[in-house]
Symmetry: C2
DNA sequence: GTGCTTGCAAAGATTTTGCACGGCC
DNA sequence: GGCCGTGCAAAATCTTTGCAAGCAC
């Protein structure tokens, strides 16, 4: 079950690793096709799953669609309810610091995701 | 465009308003069918959209599937990555208080959603 | 060579929509 | 009566999967 180093996986990661725009699988597919014209969408999905399993990619579920972020971008997102765009945000101080569960819950928290909803500047 | 008071809408709201289990559209559909056997799934979806537009229902996008919560339950959720169950959680102190955006961002935040991921007690 | 990976296409799962009919106001 | 809401079924979207061939190790 070792992960092989394939051109497809490499190009997908290259496209994604400096990406700030929270692309969908389809958008990634279009980008990767410029390098590998006959890659299939299924392959893109399978490699994105691997990257996520490896902890390199974070999957945002926004409005019934998956968006993919390199994991370094581990911050909250602002989703405009009018135009649907996704923005990166930084919060005041350490509000975003690991939210602490009450110690007696029995849950093991490995990650969290905070999403803000509202209207962006251009849509106001 | 006024919202009419129909039996379908009422039953759906009745099913949902005290619900703590974050049901999916399909689960709501099954429940409502006990009252209105020939209701259609499309109608359930349309009424859930109305309730959401009215601010009565919050939609959680979890793992590519919508889950519906009465809006009173406005708290974080814990999603077990092993069994997929969704739990309500309460955080220590005010961590969950409205996250404050830096004042200069131009975003108008109307709501937010915090999700914690990890392993629940039974799956540990 | 072995077995993971790919491309292709079909299947899946979930959600949305068109249409004619029916019921609320 | 006018118009919104409904049931039904088909369509749409997004994602996953089976399979035979191909490539990495």
């Amino acid at each position: 079950m070792s992960t092989r180093r394939t051109r497809q996986l490499e190009v997908i990661w290259d496209v994604l690793k400096d990406e700030m725009s929270h692309p969908t699988a389809d958008q990634i597919y279009e980008r990767v096709r410029r390098e590998i014209p006959n890659i299939s969408l299924g392959t893109v999905y399978r490699n994105l799953q691997k990257l996520a399993a490896d902890g390199k990619v974070q999957i945002l579920n926004i409005d019934r669609t998956q968006h993919f972020d390199p994991i370094s971008n581990k911050h909250p997102h602002f989703i405009c309810e009018s135009c649907g765009k996704v923005y990166d945000v930084t919060l005041d101080r350490r509000e975003e610091a690991e939210p602490l569960l009450s110690p007696d819950t029995g849950f093991t928290v490995t990650s969290h995701q905070l999403s803000l909803y509202g209207t962006c500047e251009t849509c106001s």
